[in-house]
C-alpha cells in the first residue's frame, strides 16, 4: 500500500505542481490577472485526466442525432471541417439556425435555442469523444475519412442515438488494432506529438 501511495503521489502530485509564481501586476480597469496553465485545477481533475476519463456533463439541449441522420443530413454539415481538417467541429448555434430559422420553429427545443441565440448565448456542448490534453493525441479526421473509415467505426451507432453517448472506447489499443489491420503506421509519432 505504501508503494501504491508513493506512486500515486508521484503521478498525481507532480502533475499538479503549480507554475512558478510571478508577482501580481498592477492592473488597469478592464485587465485581468488570469493565467492559462497546464496545471490541473484539482487533484480529481488530474486523476481523471490520467485515467482518460472525460468529465460527465449535461448537454445544453437534448440534441436528437437520429432525427437529423434520418433526414440524410451529412455529419459534416454540422461537424464542420471534419472532411478537410483535423477537427470535427462542434456546431455553434449559428449553424443550427441556418436551417432552424425556418424549419420546425414550433418545436420547444428549437424555440429554446432560438431564444438563446437571441440573447447572444451559444450552445456549450460537452465533448463526448475526444482526448484529454495529457494524452497528447493529435488525431486528424480528414485522412481517416479519405481512407473510407466509417464514422460509425469510432463513433458507434450515433445515428440511432438521441443525445450522443460514448459507446466506443477509443483507447490506444482500439486505434492501434485498426492501424495494424490496415497497414497504417503505428509509430508513436503517428499520433503523439
Amino acid at each position: 500500500m505504501a508503494v501504491c501511495l508513493a506512486t500515486y503521489g508521484t503521478v498525481a502530485g507532480c502533475r499538479l505542481y503549480q507554475p512558478a509564481e510571478r508577482p501580481a501586476p498592477q492592473l488597469l480597469p478592464g485587465q485581468t490577472a488570469d493565467v492559462f496553465t497546464t496545471a490541473r485545477p484539482s487533484l480529481a481533475a488530474a486523476v481523471n485526466d490520467f485515467l482518460g476519463r472525460l468529465p460527465e456533463g449535461e448537454q445544453p439541449i437534448e440534441f436528437p442525432h437520429n432525427t437529423h441522420v434520418k433526414m440524410n443530413i451529412a455529419c459534416s454539415t454540422c461537424h464542420e471541417g471534419v472532411e478537410t481538417g483535423p477537427v470535427a467541429g462542434l456546431p455553434s448555434v449559428r449553424t443550427c439556425m441556418i436551417c432552424h430559422e425556418a424549419i420546425a420553429t414550433d418545436r420547444p427545443r428549437i424555440q429554446q435555442i432560438t431564444a438563446m441565440r437571441d440573447k447572444g448565448l451559444d450552445l456549450n456542448w460537452v465533448r463526448v469523444y475526444g482526448y484529454v490534453r495529457e494524452a497528447h493525441v493529435k488525431f486528424n479526421h480528414a485522412p481517416h475519412i479519405r481512407a473510407k473509415v466509417e464514422c460509425a467505426t469510432c463513433h458507434g451507432n450515433i445515428g440511432e442515438q438521441t443525445i450522443a453517448q460514448r459507446n466506443v472506447d477509443l483507447n490506444m489499443g482500439f486505434c492501434v488494432n485498426c492501424h495494424r489491420e490496415n497497414d497504417a503506421p503505428v509509430d508513436c509519432l503517428t499520433c503523439h506529438f
Binding site: V35, T37, T38, A142, F193
Partner: protein, 229 residues
C-alpha cells in the same frame, strides 16, 4: 520512406535569432521568466551559438544555429527507460511526452544540449494563450521536450500530399525556423532524395556535422563559413 534532414549554411547565417523566436511561436514553448532562466531552465529548442576567436582588434565571430541534430545513432535513445525517446522510420528522433517520466537521462546523454525539461507547468498570462498552436501539444511539468523538426508541419504536408495523390515536393515542408530565416541559411528536406536541396547542400565540400566523431550520425549538415582573409 523519407529521411528528414537539415542543412545550415553558416556562410549565410547572420546570427539574428529569427529562428529562435519563430520556434517559440510555432511550438508553444513557454517563457520561464528571469528567475528560472537564471537557473538554466529557459527552453530554446533552437539556439544560435556564438564563438569569438582572437583578440581585439583581430576578432572574429562564428555563429552556429543548433537544434536537435536528429541523430541516426542518438545517444538519448538507448538511455530512456520508457522508450519516450525513440527513432521513427523516417529518421526522426521522437520524443513521446506520454511516455516520458522525466528521468532526464536523455538530456544528460545528449552531447548537443538540445533537450529541455519542464520544471514547472508552463503558463501563459491570458490572453497570450490565444496564440497557442493547436497542432502542437502543450507539455506539462515533468517531461522533456526538444526540437521535433516541426513534425506537425511534416504530418500536415504528408496528409495534404496524400489527399492530392502526389508525393511531398521538395521544399514543401518548412519547419518554422527554416520558413522565417531572413538569409535562407536553413534548408529542410528529404535526405533519401538525392535531388533534394538539402541532399545537394549536405554533399557540399564545406559540409560538416556537429561532433560527428562521437558517432552520433547527426542529420543536420553545417556548411562552413568561407574564410577569405
Amino acid at each position: 520512406m523519407p529521411r528528414w534532414g537539415m542543412a545550415a549554411d553558416l556562410d549565410r547565417c547572420t546570427g539574428c535569432g529569427g529562428c529562435v523566436v519563430a520556434c517559440h511561436a510555432e511550438n508553444n514553448i513557454s517563457t520561464v521568466g528571469d528567475d528560472q532562466a537564471s537557473r538554466g531552465r529557459a527552453k530554446h529548442w533552437i539556439r544560435v551559438e556564438r564563438y569569438y576567436e582572437g583578440e581585439f582588434p583581430d576578432v572574429r565571430v562564428k555563429f552556429r544555429p543548433v537544434m536537435c541534430q536528429q541523430c541516426d545513432n542518438a545517444p538519448c535513445e538507448p538511455v530512456c527507460p520508457t522508450y519516450a525517446s525513440h527513432h521513427t522510420d523516417d529518421g526522426l528522433n521522437a520524443q513521446v511526452y506520454n511516455r516520458c517520466i522525466g528521468t532526464r537521462y536523455c538530456a544528460n546523454a545528449c552531447p548537443y544540449n538540445v533537450r529541455f525539461f519542464d520544471f514547472f507547468n508552463p503558463s501563459w498570462e491570458k490572453p497570450l494563450h490565444l496564440q497557442l498552436n493547436p497542432d502542437v501539444s502543450l507539455r506539462e511539468v515533468g517531461v522533456m521536450e526538444k526540437c521535433t523538426f516541426c513534425v506537425q508541419r511534416i504530418k500536415s504536408a504528408q496528409i495534404g500530399a496524400k489527399a492530392g495523390q502526389r508525393e511531398v515536393r521538395d521544399g514543401e515542408i518548412q519547419p518554422a525556423c527554416v520558413q522565417g530565416c531572413p538569409s535562407k541559411a536553413l534548408v529542410f528536406g528529404d535526405l533519401e532524395d538525392p535531388e533534394s536541396e538539402v541532399s545537394r547542400l549536405s554533399r557540399s565540400p564545406r559540409g560538416t556535422k556537429l561532433l560527428e566523431d562521437l558517432g552520433t550520425k547527426p542529420k543536420v549538415a553545417y556548411l562552413a563559413r568561407v574564410s577569405q582573409t
